[in-house]
């Protein structure tokens, strides 16, 4: 009984070590293949459209409603103190430092991460990835690198977009419902913002993009067991990305707070 439990714990630990090793290797190989010619411009642009442009509507809705909710929830307390104008600062800081990057990454992980895993997983189980290799083409160069570059560029861009839309959401509540003047709201939005706030948000977005792409591609490239296996890999890809994104967010926030005192 005890022996079996120990064996099962040992096997799980080995699985985790194997997962970390596999994803790290994939990340390193991806970095190594990026500069290798030819640069697949057409594929990178097509992935940027799929990942970035096609995510605009869902990021718009998520950020807008988050901005509105953030303003409404803080209005509940701020109105008691007669400090409605500070809602603008609260919304802008929360969006740029935290909610913009995290919510965008989670939305993109659900939408794009799942689709990358499902696509690569289907290619794996239908032997298309083997076929690529027999045609003297490296699957990492051909499949992973364009997605990696597209995500690393588009996730920060989507984050800036989400920051902006979230602030508009707050503006709608602050100016339209709580009676703060438009000029005051805009001044209170920009005044507390410093470059570091935007920089930390974008750095988070960059790290989330790396996590999301590596996990999604790793799960896809290692899918096995037909349609059921692809389904399992897709679920695992989204769940793992969600957990790792939130863990990385906590880690980066703590790092900046303790090391650089910027939160």
């Amino acid at each position: 009984m005890i022996r079996n439990n120990l064996i099962s714990i040992g096997e799980k630990c080995l699985d985790i070590v194997q997962y970390i090793g596999g994803t790290t290797m994939l990340f390193v190989k991806t970095l190594a293949w990026i500069p290798a010619p030819p640069i697949k411009r057409r594929q990178i642009l097509s992935q940027m459209k799929k990942i970035g442009v096609d995510s605009l509507p869902i990021v718009f809705l998520t950020a807008l409603f988050t901005g509105i909710v953030l303003a409404l929830q803080s209005a509940y307390q701020m109105q008691k103190l007669g400090a409605e104008m500070y809602i603008a600062s609260l919304v802008s800081l929360s969006m740029t430092r935290e909610l913009g990057p995290v919510l965008t990454a989670l939305v993109v992980a659900g939408r794009v991460g799942a689709s990358i895993t499902a696509e690569l997983g289907t290619m794996r189980v239908t032997e298309q990835i083997d076929a690529l290799e027999t045609l003297a083409t490296n699957p990492i160069k051909y499949l992973v690198v364009p997605r990696f570059i597209a995500l690393v560029i588009m996730l920060p861009v989507l984050t800036i977009y989400a920051d902006f839309i979230g602030i508009i959401g707050g503006y709608i509540v602050g100016v339209g419902r709580l009676g703060v003047s438009s000029s005051m709201y805009l001044r209170m939005t920009w005044e507390p913002l410093v470059y570091k706030d935007i920089f930390t948000g974008l750095l988070k977005a960059l790290v989330f993009a790396v996590i999301l792409c590596t996990v999604a591609c790793y799960e896809g490239m290692n899918a096995e067991g037909g349609a059921e296996g692809v389904g399992k890999s897709t679920t695992l890809s989204v769940v793992t990305s969600f957990i790792l994104i939130i863990m990385a967010d906590c880690f980066i926030t703590a790092l900046f707070y303790f090391a650089f005192q910027v939160g």
Binding site: T122, M123, T126, E127, Q128, D130, A131, L132, E133, T134, L135, A136, T137
Partner: protein
């Protein structure tokens, strides 16, 4: 190109799939490897094209042990070895034309017009016309197999590997695929290796038949020798009898 397989071993966990397997494949011949489903035929093919690395043993193609190759050297070899996959493995996101000319678009300095011409030629060789702009999803199983074949011959390979070429197509289309393989062999003089459990196909395309059983090649011979063999294992397989030495101890009738 001669292929020499020496003492090839491959295990997945505790399951030994290839067990000291040795086989010589002569240049310009079509060798068919027969065996039951799951006996390791596809695994053997994947070793010949370098998709899998053996636990031990060698695969020597024209004097070079390909199990030791990687990167550019392996890719150079792969431009001379083509493979037709069981499900054709066409790239869903590309058109038929882009699929067939894939290796040329990716790895040659030939102009797009010339590649398009070559693609057309290859598609005509497998009996297809005006399908270049279609996506693989628009084709039937038999047509996909033929496109896979066109993709395999597009680079003028010296070796073509066929993984279950007639599986998943109706008998008439299966016969058409067999004829295609024979014609390609006669026209292009390539070394061909096909793995199958379809004996009709094996007799039609093979110069030589080898049987894979229990991780080893237990028999090699011409189609005539296979038909007249006294070997009980080969005999059970080619006659398709459910009872015999292969299924001894298995309860496949229940």
């Amino acid at each position: 190109m001669n292929i020499e397989i020496i003492n090839l071993c491959k295990s997945f966990g505790d399951h030994k799939v290839l067990d000291n397997l040795s086989l010589d494949l002569k240049s310009g011949e079509t060798t068919v490897i027969i065996g039951r489903s799951g006996c390791g035929k596809s695994v053997l093919l994947k070793h010949i094209v370098g998709l899998m690395k053996p636990d031990s043993g060698q695969v020597i193609i024209d004097g070079v042990d390909i199990t030791k190759l990687s990167g550019k050297e392996l890719n150079k070899l792969r431009m001379r070895v083509s493979m037709l996959f069981q499900g054709a493995a066409l790239f869903d996101s590309l058109t038929i034309g882009e699929n067939v000319g894939f290796a040329l678009y990716e790895h040659s300095s030939i102009g797009k017009r010339q590649i398009a011409k070559r693609v057309k030629e290859c598609l005509e060789m497998v009996g297809l016309r005006d399908v270049e702009e279609l996506k693989p999803a628009a084709l039937s199983g038999g047509m996909k197999k033929r496109v896979g074949l066109a993709r395999a011959i597009c680079i003028n390979p010296a070796i073509i590997l066929y993984d279950e070429p007639t599986t998943g197509v109706d008998p008439i289309m299966g016969d058409a695929v067999n004829n295609l393989i024979r014609n390609l062999h006669d026209k292009l003089k390539v070394t061909s290796i096909a793995v199958t459990h379809d004996m009709v196909s094996a007799y039609k395309i093979a110069n030589r038949i080898a049987m894979l059983y229990d991780g080893k090649i237990i028999f090699t011979g011409t189609p005539g020798q296979v038909k007249n063999t006294k070997d009980p294992i080969v005999k059970q397989f080619i006659t398709g009898a459910s009872e015999g030495p292969i299924t001894n101890g298995e309860h496949i009738n229940h």
